[in-house]
Structures are given as C-alpha cells and as structure tokens.
Symmetry: C2
Subunit: 425 residues, 2 copies
C-alpha cells in the first residue's frame, strides 16, 4: 500500500496542508505512535485490534467452519461491525459460495432472501458480541424458523460468533453448535481481521491466510513518522485537512469490488471519530460511477472535502471493441481497464486543477494480501486520527439512547421521554 499525498498539499489545494505543517505534526504522530504501541503491548481495549493479524488463528477458523464447507450460500445475521468486515471481504475477493448479509430488519427483504436461498445448502452465521443485538437476534429467530419450515435441521447449518455469555452463547451450548470467539477488547468495526470478519469468507473459500498476511504486512509498516508509514500518512493528512475545513472525507475506490469497502470505511470513520461535536463525515463514493453523480459537488461545491481515491495497480481487463463512429475514435484500441484508470487520473487532475484536495491510496491489486493490508492500514490511520483529535476511537456511546428507547417502546408500547435512567448524558 502506497499513499500519495501530493494533491493534498497547500499550493495545490485549499484546504491543503503545508509541508512544514506536516513536519510539525509529525512530532505528534510520533507521540501517538508510542501511545498506540503501548496499547498494543498491553492488549488494551481497541488498540488490541492492531494485533489481530498475529493473534487470529486461521486454522481454528478453518476447523470451525469445516462442517459447513459444502455450503453453496452463506447467510450472515449481523449488523454494523458484525457484518461489514466479512461483507467487504466477500465482495472484494473470489468466493466459491454466495455470501448474503442480513444487516437490516426490513420484513419483505428478509423474506425474499430466505425464499430465494436453497436452505439445505445454506450456512447460517449468527454474529453478535452481546448475543442481544435486537436486529440480529430477530433475524436469527426468523431464519431458524425458515430452516425448520423447510425441513432443514438448523443446528447442523449454524455457526455462532458471540461472547462468553448471553442468549446466543446459551443457545450454542444448548444445541452444541460450532462457535468461534469474538476477539476480546476489539470493537466490531475493528474486527475484520478476526473470526468476526473471516468466518463467513472462510466458508466461502476465501484466502483468509492471505488477508492475515496482508494485515501483518500493515503491522510491519507502522513506524513513528508519517513520512515512513503510509497508514499514518493517510491519517495525519486526513486529520490536518479536517482541521483546515475538510469536514467530509469522500472514500472513492476505483473498483466495483471495493464498493462495500467504502461502506466499511464509512462505519470505521464515523463511529470511531464522530464524538464530542467533532469528527470527519465519511461519504461513500465509487469511481467512475460517481463522476456522473458526486464529482460536480466535489469539484465546485463547498471547500469542505477531502477525496480519497483507492487505485489498484493491476486488474483483469477487457478490450473495448472498435467503435465504428468518428466521435468515439478515442476509444479505439483501448480497454475498460485503461478507460477506468485514465478516468481516475483525469478526475484527480481535475480536482487539483480546481484546487480541491485528494489523496491516492495505491494497491498492487485487489487480492487477499492487498485487501488485508488496506483494512489494517485504514484501521491504523483511524486510530491515529482518534489520538490526534483526542477522542476515544473505540466507543460509541451516542447510539445507546436509541437502543434502549427501542427496547422500552417494544415492551411498553410507548416511546420513553428519556429512556433508561442509567443513561446519563
């Protein structure tokens, strides 16, 4: 993974960051890196995420999913960080089975999913650390019933990822279900390189060892200077631009297979940094599609954005057949990949020409190793930004009010004025 920050520098862009400012910021990066390394050494809450590439045992995952290796479809009941890591991986990499994620409780949509799946060949993966997540447990109950109605023994088709206790843990024990642990001290959105992110991909035949190797390469590349560490370069520049007015960070990979990655990034960035009235709002974009949707705004709207490109160096390609029209002669002898790569370069140049900042993250290719390194690098960048902002990147207290209000409303029929006395705010 390489990070090119040239188009985010003052002189090119406004907001932009002067090179001297980055040099001053680098002292804080070094300090934050020491804090991060200390947290890693102590397996401290959150920081432990950066140890996952070495802590996660792919063989244990392979053993746990082995009984489900025949599945032609994998249905995960999970939401937020319990779904997005795995969904990012199965969207980006080749799979031998189709992966589906029940990450919402929309009744018609859930019913359609269940109606369409060959349940006797489907693996069901239930993911909830607490075992009480309303959406996930509701969907799990609906799935279990659908399996029963279809005459399929759900206990033979289900893998559970949960904490040491709670309803899902009880259920797993009662029915002797295979289980995998959710990692200790790692929030869901940082758990892509743990069993939470790797179990469903493993059933689908994804190269989880390659993902972990990529993560390990990311860990190797952490260093106490943004000038020596691509992940910190990205984090530091994002932070510096946020401080200079880039309230929005538009994540715009130029690869369809990374569309879900942009969603994963959006959770990582929003939930980790959005607190104390600060943060940087992620926007999910996709190249080249959003050139025809968001680019006008990015290039000519408010000067409140950083655009982050993700560029694969190599990709499978397909030639464009010769157009028999003069107006299209520029397409002669080119390919879809060449067109897409050229559009990325042209879009980056067009933003620079308008003085709008962008950063370019380059991968050799979208494969298991490259993706593992990308996920790890974005997590490290996010943790660095949390340190620089001075916020706790590992909690999400603001969502509790609504969860408690939902439970109370379902119990009593009324939405409380102020749910749960314990929720002092």
């Amino acid at each position: 993974m390489r990070v090119d920050i040239g188009n985010a520098l003052a002189g090119v862009a406004s907001p932009g960051v002067a090179r001297e400012s980055l040099e001053r910021l680098d002292a804080r990066v070094a300090q934050a890196h020491r804090r991060i390394e200390a947290g890693r050494a102590d397996e401290e809450h959150g920081y432990a995420a950066l140890n996952l590439p070495e802590r996660t045992d792919p063989d244990a995952i392979r053993r746990a999913v082995d009984p489900l290796a025949d599945a032609s479809a994998v249905l995960t009941a999970g939401i937020g960080g319990s779904a997005l890591g795995a969904a990012t991986i199965t969207a980006a990499l080749p799979t031998g089975a189709d992966a589906y994620y029940l990450d919402n409780v929309d009744p018609a949509w859930v019913a359609d999913r269940l109606d369409d799946l060959p349940l006797s060949e489907t693996a069901l993966v239930a993911v909830s650390r607490s075992g009480t997540t309303a959406e996930t447990l509701a969907n799990f109950l609906v799935c279990r019933e659908a399996f029963e109605r279809a005459g399929v023994d759900w206990t033979e088709r289900t893998l559970v990822l949960t904490g040491d206790d709670g309803p899902l843990a009880d259920l797993a024990e009662r029915h002797d279900l295979p289980t995998l642990p959710v990692p200790e001290g790692v929030p869901g959105r940082f758990s892509a390189l743990s069993p939470v992110g790797l179990a469903a991909p493993a059933i689908c035949g994804v190269d989880i060892e390659g993902l972990l190797a990529g993560g390990a390469a990311g860990a190797e590349s952490l260093a106490g200077s943004l000038f020596d560490c691509p992940a910190y370069a990205y984090g530091a520049v994002s932070y510096a631009l946020a401080e200079r007015g880039a309230a929005v960070n538009a994540m715009m990979p130029y690869a369809e297979s990374l569309e879900t990655f942009a969603e994963w990034f959006a959770q990582l960035w929003a939930e980790s940094l959005g607190k104390d009235d600060i943060g940087q709002t992620p926007a999910r974009a996709l190249g080249a599609t959003d050139q025809h949707s968001q680019l006008q705004l990015y290039r000519a709207g408010p000067r409140d954005k950083l655009v982050t490109f993700v560029a694969p160096g190599e990709r499978e390609d397909r030639a464009i057949p010769d157009p028999d029209a003069e107006a299209l002669s520029y397409l002669s002898g080119t390919s879809l990949g060449e067109l897409l790569d050229t559009e990325l370069d042209a879009t980056a140049a067009s933003l620079a020409a308008a003085g709008r900042p962008s950063v370019r993250i380059e991968l050799d290719r979208v494969d298991a190793r490259g993706l593992g390194e990308l996920l790890y690098g974005m997590e490290a960048a996010c943790i660095l930004v949390g340190e620089l902002f001075g916020v706790d990147a590992f909690d999400q207290p603001a969502v509790e009010w609504g969860k408690e209000a939902t439970r109370e409303s379902l119990r009593t029929g009324d939405l409380p004025e102020r749910p749960g006395d314990e929720l002092a705010e």
Copy 2:
C-alpha cells in the same frame, strides 16, 4: 407524501430554524414558486422536468418495449442520470424480470455480469443523451460483442434511448432498432419520470402508469407556500438548515427497497446544488442498518447535519418467533416491521434528545404511486433549493474538465495540463 419538520425547528435542534424565520422565508418560496411555474409554462430547460408526469406517454413506452417483453433480464448501459432513475424504480417496486445496470467500466465486474446473464433472454437498453458518454458507449460495445459471441442477434434485443443525433442515434437508424426519446430540456438526474427512467422498468413489468400518477399528484400539490406544499416544506427547511450550518443532508430511508433511492437523491442534490462553492453534501444512509454505522456521528459528531428519514406507513410484515431467552423478552409478540418502525421513531427521538435536526418524509407505502410522488417531490424540493441558493440547478459544468482530459489522454497517451482550450474556467 407528508413532511414533518417539527424536529428541525429551533428549540428542538441546533442547527434549527425558528418558525418565524420560516414565515419570512415563505415570501421567497412564493417568489421561487412563481419562477418555477413560469419555467414550467415555457417548458424552459430544467423546469420542464416538473411537467414530465403529464408529458410522458406511457403507451409509447409500452409499445417501444413490447418486442422485449419476453426478457427475463434487462441490462441497462447507462451512467449517472441515465441509470439511477430506472435503478431506483426497479429496486423499489416488484418486477417480473431482473434488472441490472452497467453504470461503471470495471472490467471484471462487467465481464461477470455478462457471463452470468442468459443473453438470449436479456434485453439491452442503451441510454445516453449525447450518444458519446465514454463509459456507456464502451460498455455498449462490449455488450454487443458478448451478444454476438453468444450467437444472439443483438439488434433483436436492443432498445436505444438517445437524442436526435450522435453515434447511438446513427446506430439505431442503421440497424432499425426501437428507440425512445430522451426528454428535451430535462437533465438526466431529473428524468426518472420520462422514458429514461421508465423504459427498463416497463420491460420488467413495473406499473409505470402508477409512477406517473404519483408524479401527477406531486405536481398537483405544488403551491406558493411551504406551509401548503410538502415538497417545498422539505426544500425550504433543507435550505434554511444549510444556511445555519447543516452542510450535510443524510438521506436515510427505513426500507431496503429505497436504498437506491438514497443514491438517486444523492446525485440530484449533489449535482444540482454543488456549485459556486456552495451546496449541501448528500450522505446516503439506510435505516436501521446505519444506526450501527453512522448514527454515532450523526448524534454526537459535528453539528453540521440534517438527517432526512423516509418512512413508509404500511409494509408487508413478518412475525418474530418467540425468543426463549429472558434478555430478548421485549421481542415477544412483535414483528420485523414493528421493530423497524420502532427503531425509526427511537432514532428520530434520540437525535432530537441530542438537539440534532431531522425531517420525516412519510409515504403511505412504497408502491408505484408513492414512489412517483416521492421522486417528483424531491425534484421540486431540489429546484426550490436551487432558486433559494441562487444557483442553476440544471447544469453540471465542473465535470467537463475530467471528461475532456480522459478523451485527450486516451487519444495522446498523456494527461493534458489543461484539457480543451474551449474549457475556460
């Protein structure tokens, strides 16, 4: 369509708009409405979009697509406004054929799509006003070749939507292909209720008459006061909040079937309003999923957001089987729909409790009529905001630089420093 602005008022939220400020703003709304009505009367560029429900002839669309009525899949080559309207409709409403949209030139993804489709049963819809859109024409050439390789006569399977001249119009004439017109004076992002948005849905068996009836109801409901017109109420409040610091508008429907609608809205809002260094950045969200991803940021991050909920009044439902766990007893006797509706209410309340503004758009249900009214209403709201901002909502000049640079780079092999002398900026 009803619009509840109560949670966007000062006193509830910050930023928020005082009722007296809305009353003052209403004089400008009345003035803008007169401008809009004059534009409609003259079929003026852009404003003509609001006449589409009465101008669009569903029978002409039905006749044009009739030769393709046997299709089991519909593949549209189009990007931006040439795809998002149709994609929104086929995602939201029941279809008798599967709809796919080639709105990107990612080679592996395009190849996968073509490999998976039964081409002899597939209708190909090519949509480009100019007939020269690089991505669309490249994809069309690739599709045509794939049909030929599969031994399918593409001229029997293709419908063209384009302007009066250009390479696609020439092609249609040469091969005697069925065509439908793109509407005069209507930018792509405002063309959902024209053949551009309705042709692919019509092949899929969607109730396009119902969509147009919903649009007509939206047209009926336009009035010279935000207090009498839901669409203008939404536009005026969005504008007032943008002026007061809500730089981001998070569109968050509580229905999976409206996920693509949020993308459509994002194009409408970004490309129409993002100019002259102003605008309001759309964020695409989805309830309840993004409660576990974006809500922390929306509720506790920078006070720079308006959250827009879209709430269907009725939906198909599915009971949640009884949980056999005390910790889940609040789910007893409920349904997925009840859970989802309760989560929406709880999320709106939780934002209000944190003093964050939201607006609630209510539909009776997500059906053809409701969706048509919603699309029309958002277009009218967007045009109103353009009037209030004083920008031209109907152009997108900032994207030309990159398009021209792409063409020059493909021709010459080098990205120009400054593409096309004619592009004065």
